[in-house]
C-alpha cells in the first residue's frame, strides 16, 4: 500500500460521507456509506480502509469511522 493510495481511499470515503449527510443523521448516513462501500469497493480497498481505521483512522470523518465499523460487521 502506498501513502497516495491510502490518501485517495480516505478522500473517497470522506467524500461519500459528506455527500450522504442530510440533516446530521449520522447513524443513517453511516449505514448508507457502509452499504455503498460493500457494493462498490474492491476487497483490497475495503481491507485497507479497515486496517487504517483500526490503526486510529485519524483522517476519517466521524461518519466515515462509523461506516468502517459497520463494514467490518
Amino acid at each position: 500500500m502506498s501513502d497516495q493510495q491510502l490518501q485517495n481511499l480516505i478522500k473517497m470515503i470522506n467524500q461519500i460521507s459528506a455527500n450522504n449527510l442530510h440533516h446530521g443523521d449520522e447513524t443513517a448516513t453511516a449505514e448508507i456509506v457502509a452499504t455503498h462501500l460493500k457494493k462498490f469497493w474492491a476487497r483490497s480497498m475495503k481491507a485497507q480502509i479497515i486496517d487504517y481505521a483500526e490503526h486510529g483512522g485519524a483522517e476519517l470523518s466521524p461518519i466515515s469511522k462509523l461506516a468502517v465499523e459497520r463494514l467490518k460487521a
Binding site: N19, F40, A42, S44
Partner: protein
C-alpha cells in the same frame, strides 16, 4: 384498394425516394392515380401517393427528406376537374381526386422543361463523376429528351468556377440546376442555414455564406447538400476519384452515441463513400462530418498491421505471429498472477468496440482472470448516469427515442453541446426548436444550440462550473413551492416516503433560486422562469451530457435531474424523459455488457448469489462475489505495487484520463501491459504486447446507442491484421486455459440474451428483421421498448433521492483564479486517434484555450499567444483564442491532440459515488509563456523514441520477408 396507415415506417424500401415527406395524419383520403385506387393519410402529396401506389412521377427538386418546393415543375400532373398542370409535389391529395401522371400533353410539357435545363448544362456526361447516378440524366431519359432547340451558344453558366476548398467534396456550379435541394437540406435537415440562393432569375446561384468558399462559410460539412444534389454539382471527392460504387452494406457509425445507420458504398473492398441510411431509426438519413467523411483513418498508413511484443518499454518492438504474441501475453499474465496473486491483473473494455467484444473481455476477466477487475471508459464519462438513474428510475439508461424530441414543448439541455458532440441529434433538436419549442440551456458556455436560426424562445442559465446540483435543486424548489408538481403522477408512480422527505428538503429556503444565486451565478428570476417553462410546458424533455456527470457531484446531479422529471410528471411518454447523451458509439453497450467491476451484464450485482449462480452455470467456472477495481483504483494499486498487469482493448487511458502524469506513472509500474488498438496510441507506448485492432468496417457485431438502440455493425472489408477484435479475446482466453469456442458474434449475442434479462429477446435474426431493437427486449416487450417507464419503473415506484449540494474541493484562489472546463469540437472525436488521421484536422489542427476577453485583457493576452496553464496537478501550454462565449473566469479547451496535455492539468478529483473524474472543474492560472511545458518537452522526446521503436520493428519485419 391499397391502404397506407403509417407511411415513413420501415415497411417501405428506404432506398426509394417517395418525393415528399410522410404526413402524420391519421385520417385517410382515397384517390385514384392512373386508375389505381389508393388511400393515404390526409396531407400526403399527390407525388407521394403515386409513389406509394408504385407510380413514378418525374421530379428534380423533390426529395422525401425535404418539404415540397415546387420549383422544377417536372412533376406536373393533370387532375380531373382542376385547371392546368399542378405540381404533384406541392398538391395535397383530396377525397375522390382522379390523377393522370402520363399523357401526351404532360410528356410535351416535361420535355420542354428538360430542354430548358439542358440548354445551360454541360454535355460531358461520359466523363462526369455523377455518370451512372445522375438524376438529371435519368430525367432526360425518362421524358425522352432528344434535342435542345436553343443551342448552347447563348448566355450560360458553363464556365462557372469550381470550389474545391472543402477537402471532402467539390462544388462545381457549372452543373447546378438551381433546384435548391442543397439549400433546403442545409436549412431543413441540418439546420445550419449556411447556403442560400444568391441573385434572381438567370443570375440565381447557390452561395455558401455570403458568396464565400465552402471552407470560409459557416458550413459544418455535414454533407447533407452533397447527398441532396441531383447532379454532380456537389460531389464527394472520393467518388470523383474512384467512380461510382457498385455495392453497399448497411452498418452503424463508430463515432458518437447517436449511432447513425450508414450505407457503406463499396467498390470491391474499397470504401468509396458513406451515405447515411434513411431506414436508420436514429438518424433517418442524416449524418455529420465525422460519420460521412472521416473514414480515411481506416486505411491510414499508421494502422498496426502485425502483433508485436517486447520485454520492456525501453526496447524496440519485435514483430511476431499471432500465436506467439498471444502465447507471450498469456504467459506474462499467468506469471504475474502466480507472483502477485489473483487480483493483481485486470482489463479495460472498450466503448468503441462492439457489444459482443465488450462482453467477451469482461467474461475473460471474470472467468479466465478469476477476478472482477474490469472497467471501461464509461468510468470517465457516464458512470454517474448508471448510478443516478438506477437509484431513482431503476434502470441505467435514457428513457426515450431521439424522435421523442419532436413532441417536446420545452427542451432542457444541461451540460451538453449537441451540435458539436451529437450533431445529428443536434440537428433534430434544432428542427423542433424551429417548430416553436422552448430551449433552456444550462451551461457555462454559450453553446451553438442557443444560436439556432428561427428558434425564438431560448434561455441560457450560464452557471459557474461545479454548481449543477445547486441549480437543479433551485429549479426543483420552484416547482415544489410554486405548485407546479404533477401530483397525480407522483401519487401513482413514486415511493411516498422518499418523496415526502425529498419534498421537505427541496422546499427549504436554502434551496431557493434566490439563496442559490450566489453559488450558481444565475439570476434567480431566470431560474424561476426556466423552471416554469419546463414544468408547465406540457412536455418537458431533459438532455444532458458530460457537463453533468464529470463533476464531484456527477451522480447527485443525475439524481437531481431524475427528481425534477418525476416531480413534473415528465416521464413515461413521448416528448418527455431523462436522456443522457452518450459520448462514444457504444458507451451504452459497454455498460450494458457488464464492463463495470461491480456488475455482471445487465447491471446485475456480482454479490447476488442467484444471478452469479446463473453465470457460473453457463460459464462453467466459479466467479468472485466481490466488486473489482475501477480504473482510478487500478492506477493507485499499480503505483502501490499490487496491480501488475492490464489488458486494454480500444481505449487510450494515457490521453483521455485525468492527471496524465499519474496515469503515466501507473502504466510504467506495470509488468505487463497488453494493448489492442488500431494505432500506436498513447497507452500503447507503455505496452509490452501490441495486438492489432480492427475498425468497425472490418467486423461483425452490434453497437447500442444513447436511445438503447441495438444496431448491427456489418463487416465490409476483411480485418487488416487477420482478426476481428472478438477473435483476439477468444485466442487470449484459450491460451489462458479458459476455452471460448465462438465462430460468429451472433453466438456471443445468443449468450448475452441467455444471461441478460433485458436482452432475452435479442438475436441477429430479429435484428435483421426489425432493423434495430431498443432494449428491454424480452417476453414482455418482444419488439423492444422505445419509451421506458410508461406504466411502472423496474424498481416498482420511482425513488426521489435527496440531493444535497456539496461544493467541490476544487476551488479558485489567488494562485489559481480561473476555472478550466474541457470538451469537444465537432470535427474531432475524443482522443482524436481516428479524426486526427483524416482531413478533419483542417478544421481543428490543435487544441486551443478559449478565454473571455476580459480575462485576456487583464493578462495582456492576444489571440494566438502561447499560454501556460497551471493547475494543482500539472502545467501545459496552448495557444489562446479570445472568445466571448465563455463566462468571465472560465476557460475552455479540448483534449483531441495528445501533445496538448489538457489532461496534464486536470486533477484526480472525482464523483463521490463512481470515481468519474471531475474534468469539468479545474482551478487554473493562465499566463503568457514562450515555450512548451516541461511535460510537453518530455512527451515529445518519449513519443519520438516510441515512434522510432515502431519504425525499427517494421523495417525488421519488412527485411525478414525479403
Amino acid at each position: 384498394m391499397l391502404h397506407y396507415f403509417d407511411p415513413g415506417k420501415s415497411s417501405f424500401d428506404p432506398n426509394r425516394d417517395l418525393g415528399t415527406p410522410a404526413s402524420p395524419s391519421e385520417t385517410l383520403v382515397s384517390v385514384s392515380i392512373d386508375g389505381t385506387a389508393i388511400s393515404v393519410p390526409e396531407g400526403t402529396s399527390v407525388m407521394r401517393a403515386a409513389a406509394l401506389a408504385g407510380i413514378t412521377i418525374p421530379k428534380l427538386c423533390a426529395s422525401d427528406n425535404l418539404e415540397a418546393f415546387g420549383s422544377c415543375r417536372l412533376c406536373a400532373v393533370q387532375i380531373e376537374g382542376r385547371r392546368g398542370y399542378p405540381a404533384s409535389c406541392t398538391t395535397p391529395v383530396a377525397e375522390g381526386m382522379q390523377v393522370t401522371t402520363q399523357n401526351g400533353k404532360l410528356a410535351k410539357l416535361r420535355r420542354n422543361i428538360m430542354e430548358l435545363y439542358i440548354s445551360d448544362h454541360p454535355l460531358d456526361c461520359l466523363t462526369c463523376p455523377a455518370n451512372g447516378n445522375c438524376e438529371l440524366q435519368d430525367m432526360a431519359g425518362a421524358v425522352g429528351l432528344r434535342e435542345v432547340r436553343y443551342g448552347f451558344s447563348g448566355e450560360n453558366h458553363l464556365d462557372a468556377e469550381t470550389d474545391d476548398s472543402n477537402p471532402y467534396f467539390s462544388f462545381d456550379p457549372s452543373k447546378c440546376i438551381v433546384c435548391s435541394r442543397c439549400v433546403r437540406a442545409c436549412a431543413e435537415v441540418q439546420g445550419t442555414f449556411a447556403l442560400t440562393i444568391d441573385g434572381r432569375g438567370f443570375d440565381s446561384k447557390v452561395s455558401p455564406g455570403q458568396n464565400q468558399s465552402f471552407m470560409d462559410s459557416e458550413c459544418v460539412s455535414c454533407g447533407a447538400c452533397v447527398q441532396a444534389c441531383p447532379t454532380s454539382t456537389l460531389m464527394e471527392k472520393s467518388v470523383i476519384e474512384a467512380g461510382q460504387p457498385e455495392h453497399s452494406v448497411i452498418t452503424t457509425c463508430a463515432y458518437c452515441g447517436v449511432g447513425c445507420s450508414f450505407k457503406a458504398e463499396m467498390k470491391g473492398d474499397q470504401l468509396v463513400r458513406m451515405v447515411p441510411y434513411k431506414g436508420g431509426d436514429a438518424n433517418h438519413g442524416h449524418s455529420c462530418i465525422k460519420g460521412r467523411f472521416a473514414f480515411g483513418y481506416t486505411t491510414h498508413q499508421d494502422r498496426i498491421k502485425e502483433p508485436m511484443i517486447r520485454d520492456s518499454i525501453d526496447q524496440p518492438w519485435r514483430v511476431v505471429s499471432w500465436d506467439e504474441a498471444i502465447g507471450f501475453a498469456a504467459r506474462r499474465l499467468k506469471e504475474t498472477q502466480a507472483k502477485y496473486g489473483r487480483e493483481s491483473i485486470g482489463g479495460i473494455t472498450s466503448s468503441r468496440c462492439t457489444n459482443e467484444e465488450t462482453f467477451l473481455v469482461q467474461k475473460l476477466i471474470r472467468a479466465a482472470f478469476g477476478n472482477n477487475n474490469t472497467d471501461t471508459c464509461a468510468r470517465v464519462c457516464h458512470s454517474p448516469t448508471g448510478y443516478g438513474l438506477k437509484t431513482t428510475l431503476g434502470e441505467s439508461a435514457g428513457t426515450q427515442t431521439f424522435d421523442s424530441v419532436m413532441k417536446a414543448d420545452t427542451v432542457l439541455v444541461i451540460g451538453a453541446n449537441p451540435t458539436d458532440a451529437h450533431p445529428v441529434f443536434g440537428s433534430q433538436i434544432r428542427r423542433r426548436l424551429r417548430q416553436g419549442a422552448t430551449l433552456i440551456v444550462a451551461d457555462p458556455r454559450r453553446i451553438d444550440l442557443l444560436k439556432t436560426p428561427h428558434a425564438d424562445r431560448t434561455m441560457h442559465l450560464a452557471l459557474t462550473p461545479g454548481t449543477n446540483v445547486a441549480l437543479v435543486n433551485s429549479l426543483a424548489h420552484v416547482v415544489v413551492t410554486e405548485g407546479l408538481e404533477d401530483k397525480a403522477f407522483i401519487e401513482a408512480r413514486c415511493e411516498p416516503a422518499a418523496y415526502n422527505a425529498w419534498r421537505a428538503f427541496i422546499a427549504e429556503q436554502r434551496n431557493s433560486p434566490e439563496a442559490m444565486e450566489a453559488v450558481t451565478g444565475v439570476p434567480a428570476e431566470q431560474v424561476r422562469k426556466a423552471a416554469r417553462a419546463y414544468a408547465t410546458a406540457g412536455n418537458g424533455a431533459i438532455y444532458y451530457g458530460l457537463g453533468v456527470t464529470e463533476h464531484s457531484q456527477g451522480s447527485t446531479m443525475v439524481m437531481g435531474i431524475a427528481n425534477l422529471a418525476m416531480a413534473t410528471g415528465n416521464i413515461g411518454r413521448e416528448g418527455v424523459g431523462v436522456n443522457p447523451l452518450r459520448g462514444q458509439n457504444n458507451v451504452q453497450g459497454s455498460c450494458d455488457m457488464g464492463s463495470f467491476p461491480h456488475e455482471l451484464p445487465g447491471y446485475q450485482h456480482v454479490a447476488d448469489d442467484t444471478v452469479r449462480g446463473h453465470f457460473e452455470q453457463v460459464w462453467g467456472v466459479k466467479l468472485d462475489n466481490e466488486p473489482g477495481l475501477r480504473i482510478p483504483n487500478m492506477f493507485d494499486a499499480a503505483i502501490a505495487g499490487s496491480f501488475k498487469a492490464l489488458y486494454v482493448q480500444g481505449e487510450d487511458i494515457a490521453q483521455s484520463d485525468p492527471n496524465i502524469q499519474h496515469v503515466e506513472a501507473a502504466l510504467r509500474s506495470l509488468d505487463c501491459l497488453i494493448v489492442q488498438d488500431i494505432f500506436l496510441n498513447e497507452t500503447a507506448k507503455y505496452a509490452h504486447v501490441l495486438l492489432p485492432g480492427s475498425t468497425f468496417l472490418e467486423k461483425n457485431g452490434t453497437f447500442t446507442n444513447a436511445e438503447r438502440r441495438i444496431n448491427r455493425v456489418r463487416k465490409v472489408v476483411p480485418p487488416l491484421a487477420g482478426k476481428e477484435d472478438w477473435e483476439v479475446t477468444v485466442a487470449l482466453s484459450n491460451a489462458l486455459g479458459y476455452p471460448m469456442n465462438y465462430t460468429h458474434p451472433s453466438e456471443i449475442m445468443d449468450e448475452i440474451a441467455l444471461l441478460t434479462p433485458t436482452f432475452t429477446g435479442v438475436s441477429y435474426e430479429k435484428l435483421e428483421r426489425l432493423g434495430s431493437i431498443q432494449w428491454p427486449c424480452n417476453d414482455q416487450f418482444p419488439d423492444g421498448t422505445p419509451t421506458m417507464h410508461t406504466l411502472d419503473f423496474p424498481i416498482g415506484r420511482g425513488h426521489f433521492a435527496i440531493t444535497e449540494y456539496v461544493a467541490t474541493n476544487e476551488r479558485t484562489n489567488r494562485r489559481f483564479p480561473l476555472l478550466l472546463t474541457t470538451g469537444r469540437v465537432l470535427t474531432q472525436y475524443n482522443v482524436g486517434a481516428q479524426t486526427r488521421r483524416t482531413d478533419n484536422s483542417l478544421w481543428h489542427e490543435e487544441d486551443i484555450l478559449e478565454i473571455h476577453p476580459s480575462d485576456a485583457e487583464v493578462r495582456g493576452v492576444q489571440e494566438g499567444d502561447w499560454l501556460g496553464i497551471s493547475s494543482r496537478a500539472g502545467h501545459t501550454v496552448l495557444r489562446a483564442k479570445i472568445s466571448d462565449r465563455m463566462l468571465p473566469g472560465v476557460v475552455f479547451t479540448t483534449f483531441h491532440h495528445p501533445s496538448s496535455g489538457a489532461n496534464v492539468v486536470t486533477t484526480d478529483n472525482s464523483d463521490w459515488a463512481t470515481n468519474c473524474p471531475e474534468y469539468k472543474v479545474t482551478a487554473v492560472q493562465v499566463e503568457k509563456v514562450s515555450q512548451p511545458s516541461e511535460w510537453q518537452r518530455n512527451f515529445q522526446t518519449f513519443d519520438k523514441r516510441q515512434q522510432a521503436y515502431l519504425e525499427q520493428s517494421q523495417d525488421e519485419s519488412a527485411s525478414a520477408l525479403k
